[in-house]
Symmetry: C2
Amino acid sequence: MKANIELLEHKAYNLRVLSLKATTQAGSGHPTSALSAADIVSALFFHAMHYNSADQYDINNDRFVLSKGHAAPVLYAAWKEVGLLTQEQVLTLREFNSIFEGHPTARFAYNEAATGSLGIGLSIGLGMALSARISKHHFYTYVLMGDSEMAEGSIWEACEVAAYYKVNNLIGIIDVNRLGQSTQTIEGHNIEDYKAKLDAFGWHTFTINGHNMLEIVNALDAARTVKNKPSIIIARTYKGYGLEGIENEENYHGRAFSKEQLQELLDKLEKRFYKAAHAKFDNIQKKTETDFKKLVPEVINLPSPVYKLDSKIATRKAYGEALKVAGQSSQKVISLDAEVKNSTFSEIFEQSFPERFFQCFVAEQNMIGMATGFARMGFIPFSSTFGAFMTRAHDQIRMAAIGQEPLRLAGSHCGVSIGQDGPSQMALEDIALMRAVPNSVVLYPSDATSTYKLLNLMLNYDSGISYLRLTREATPVLYNSQEEFKIGGCKIVKQSQNDQLCIIAAGITVFEALKAYNILKEQNILVSIIDLYSVKPMDTETIKNIVIKSQNKVVTVEDHFIQGGLGEAVCYELRNLNIKIELLAVKELSRSGKPEELLAYHKIDTNAIIETAKKLIKS
Amino acid sequence: MKANIELLEHKAYNLRVLSLKATTQAGSGHPTSALSAADIVSALFFHAMHYNSADQYDINNDRFVLSKGHAAPVLYAAWKEVGLLTQEQVLTLREFNSIFEGHPTARFAYNEAATGSLGIGLSIGLGMALSARISKHHFYTYVLMGDSEMAEGSIWEACEVAAYYKVNNLIGIIDVNRLGQSTQTIEGHNIEDYKAKLDAFGWHTFTINGHNMLEIVNALDAARTVKNKPSIIIARTYKGYGLEGIENEENYHGRAFSKEQLQELLDKLEKRFYKAAHAKFDNIQKKTETDFKKLVPEVINLPSPVYKLDSKIATRKAYGEALKVAGQSSQKVISLDAEVKNSTFSEIFEQSFPERFFQCFVAEQNMIGMATGFARMGFIPFSSTFGAFMTRAHDQIRMAAIGQEPLRLAGSHCGVSIGQDGPSQMALEDIALMRAVPNSVVLYPSDATSTYKLLNLMLNYDSGISYLRLTREATPVLYNSQEEFKIGGCKIVKQSQNDQLCIIAAGITVFEALKAYNILKEQNILVSIIDLYSVKPMDTETIKNIVIKSQNKVVTVEDHFIQGGLGEAVCYELRNLNIKIELLAVKELSRSGKPEELLAYHKIDTNAIIETAKKLIKS
C-alpha cells in the first residue's frame, strides 16, 4: 500500500495533541516521551501494520509492543485514532477507575504487553514472532523501544536469540531521543553506534530521521522484505518534538504540563504543524469494538502417571516426562530452556517436539520475556532452569503478572539438598519470590506422581504465574497414580487417633519427616504428617483440622530460607489458633557438602525434626 | 618481564593434573571446563598479573575474577602453584569442611568474588577497576569468562558501561571452548562473532588460540598497553583440552571422572605434554600465607540531622541528603545510580562528589555487580534505584551475599502509595526479596530523621546486604534529631496504660496508623503504635512487651504484598504467644490511581486500620 504521508502526519499531530491533553488532565505522565515517538507510532498504526481492528483475536493481525511503556499516552491516542476509543476515554488517563494506566497493563485489552520496567518488550515481541512460526501464521510483531532501555542487558539477550532464530517477522524500532530520565544516554544521538552494535548482533539495520514520515515509511516497508533476519529501525528523534523551547531539552522527562502551559503549547503546535493540523480525511478506520471476553482455554487431562510406588526418581526427571506427555496432549504446549535441559530434563520434551522446544541459552530474562509473548498468543509455555537462576528474571516474572499472562515456571535444584555444587546453585529464596507475585501458584511436589499431577494442574491454571519447585535428588514414589491433587490442596501422609504433633513438610523434607515418624513411632510417639505440595494457595482448612487433632502442635520443615517460605506462610494461616509451632528452615548461608551433611547442618533433617518435635510435645 | 613459556606450560600442565585429581576425589565438578582455561590461567598467574602473594591486602596487587565459577578447581590449583596452598588442601574440594567449594565463595579468602551464577564477573571486575581510579592506584583487574555466559545480558551491560568509563585497567578473557552445559553455544568457535560485537561495544579486542602460550602471553602483554579502552582477549579453546577422546566433545560438562578413568587420563596427559610435565624449575613463588583477619572498618558517625518536626520531606530526599553527608564523612562512600538520580535524590551526592558518583544507566544488574566489586576493594557503595527495579538484579544481590560483600541498597518509590504511575513502578515484593538474603538487614524509615539515622547505621553495617526502603511522597518529620535508632530496633510511637491493641506499621503506614490513633482516641479507644523501622532483624522483645501490654492484640499494616512482608515476619516472631493478630497488606494486583485511593483500595489506610482494630478489640 502506498503511504499517504499527509494522513500519517495528520494522525501524528493528533497523537501529539491527545498525549499532551491527557497528561495535563492527569497531572502527571511522560508527554515528551510520547511526542518523540508520535511520528513512528502514526506510521505503524496507519501504514505499516496489517490488522483487523474489529477483531483483536484475528490471528493474522500484526502486533505492537510498546516497550517504552512510559510513552503510554501515545498508545492510547493511537487506538483512539483507530476509532476504537473516544477522546473522553483517553482523557481518564491514570485515574483510579480508568483502564488507561500510567504505564500500559493488561487492563487495556488492546495492549499486547504490560511494560514500564524497561528492556522487556523485545523479548516479548520475540516470543510473539516465534509463535507465528509454530502456528504457521504470517503476522509481524513490532516493538517500539526507547534509547535509554538499550542499556538493559535483556535487550541484548533478545537481540542475540532473535538473530539465532532468524525471525524476519520481528521488527524493532528505537526511538533515539537522546535523553533519559535524568541525563543523556551513553550514545546520545549517535545512531551509528547503535547500528554498529546491532549489525554485529546479526540484525538488519536502518538508520533514519524519526520525524521524517517518508523515511519512516520507507524503512518500515523495507523491513518487511528482509529475509532470515530480524530488522531494527534506529530513528533519530527529539524528545518533546514539536514543543518549542522544550524539544530536545533536558529536565522535561516525566513532567506533565500545567493547564495554562497546555493551551500555549497546543497553539504553537498548531502553528508549527498547520498543514497536518488542518488536513481533512474521511475516517477510514472501523469503529467496531472487539468483544474482549476472555477466551476459555481447553481443559487438558493427561493420562495417569505410571510411577511404581517406592521406586526412586527425581522430581525434575518426572517434570521432563510429564512435560512430554503434556506436549502430546496439546499442540499449544511449548518448552523454553536456559541451557540446562539435561539438568531440568526438558530435553525429554525436546526429543519428541523439537519444533516446540526453544533453546534460549544462558539468558533467563529473555527466556521469561519470550514465554510472556508466547502466552499472549495463546500458547502454554513451560520455562525451566535452576530455581536459583529464576532470580535473574524476577523483574520479567513480576511484569508478566501485571500483564496477567499465565507463565508456567519450573525451577530445579532447589534447596541445600543439591549438595556439593554449593550455594550459588541452590534456590533458597524461590518460594518467597514466587509467593510475592499476585495471583501466583507455588507448587512443590515430593515425588514423581505428584510432580506429574501438579504439572497437569499447571496446564489448566490460567489466572497467573504458576511455579513448580523441583528437587535434584531422586526421591521414592509416594503416591499411586489414582491419588488426586489440587491447587490449594495438601496430602495427609500420616495420621492416627493419637497424634501428639503435626509435621508440615514439602518436597525433600517429606522424606525426612517420614523417617522421623518411624523413629518416633518406635518410641511410642505418634505424629501426623502433611505434604504441603501447594504452598500457595494453601489448604488452610485441612491443615487446621489436622493440627487441632494433633494437640495443636506443629513443626514445619522446609529446604528453603525461613523468610517468606512455607513455614512463615503456615504461621500466617494459623495465626489466631493458639497453637505451638516451630519452624525448621535454612537460616544461614549454605556451602558445599553432601546433601545429608547439609540437611543436618541447617537442621532440617530427621534428627532436627525429632528433637524439635519432642521439645514441643513436652512443652 | 619476558615470559618463560616453558614455565607457563609446565604450570598449565600442573593445573590440569590437579583439576582432574580434585574433581575425581570429590566425585563431582567440572574438570573439562577447568582444562580449557588452564593455559590462560597459567599465563595470568605466572606472567601477566603483578601481585605480592604474601600480602593479599596490598592495594597494588592485580586482581583476578573467575566469572566462569564452575572452573573453580583451576582457581584453587593456581593458588596451589603460587605456593600458598598444598595439594592436600585442594583435594578437599567440595567437602563440607573445605573452603574450596564447588563454585568459589568468600570462604576462600584469595577468591575475589563469589561466582557460579553466570555473567556477573565482568561487572564485579569493572567495579574493582574503577575503584583503582578513585583510589589512584594502578592495578589491573582480569576477568575470565566462559563463552556460554556471553549470552547473559548483564555481560553486555558491563561492556557498555566499561567502555563509557574508558577503564583500560580492566582486561577480560573469554574462554571460547564452544560447548555449553547441554549444547553448543550460539557462536560456537566463531571467535570473530564475539570480536565484532565487542568491537562495536567499544572494547579493544584480541583473538587468539587459547592453547598457544605465546599467543596468550603476547595478547596479555599488549592488553596492558591499551589506552582509554577496556580490552578483551577472545581465546579459542577446547573443552577438556589435553584429554584424548574427550577434548572438544559434547556430554562432558560437569562430569568428574572415575578413579579408574583418572589414572588413564593422567598417563595420556603426561605423554602428550611430556616436556611440560617433566620440566624442572626452582620454585620462584613465595610461600608466606596471608593473614586473613578481616580489616576492621572505621566507624562513621554522621553529625545530627537537622529536620524540623512536622515539616514534610520525602524519605527518598532525606536519603540523598544523608548520602551527601556520608560522602563528606568518608572518602570511601560512593554512589551508584541506574539513571533515576533525580527520583532517588542521589543527585545531591553527585553534585558534591562527582568523582565518587557512578552513572550506571538503565542497567541494574551491572550496577549491583559494580557495587560488589567496589565493596571488595573496601569502598562503601550505595546503589539506588526504584525498589521495583531491584528485582532486576536479584541474582547479583544473592551472589553478593554469598560473596559476603556488604552492599548498601536503597529502593525508592516503594508501595502502592506512589500512585498514578501504576503497578510496574511499585515495589511491593522488595521486603520479601531482601529478607530472604542471608545476613541481610531491611530498614524502612517513616520520616527524614529516621532515614538519615538508618543510613548512618548502614554505613557501619559490614556483615551483609543492607536495604533501605524509601517512599515517594513527602511525610512529616516524626523524630527529633536526638532520637536513637539501631539495627534490630523499633520505635514505640504511642503507648498508654490502657491500650487495647497494638498497631505495627512502617514507612508510609505509620502515618495512617497515627490518623487511626487519633480517631480511635476520640472514641475512647486507646492503642499503641510501633514504628517497625528495622524489619530485619526485628526487635522481638520490645514488640512482645508492648503487645502483652496491649491486650495481646495486634494489627500490622504495610504498603507491601502480604507474602514475605512485615506482617508475616511479625506473625513468625510472635508465633507462640497466644495473641490475636490481623495483617493489613496488599493482597491483589495494584493499578494507577491517587495514593489515597490506592491505600483505601488495598485496605491499608486509616479506615481499614480502624475497622480491623475495632473488630479485633471486640473479638
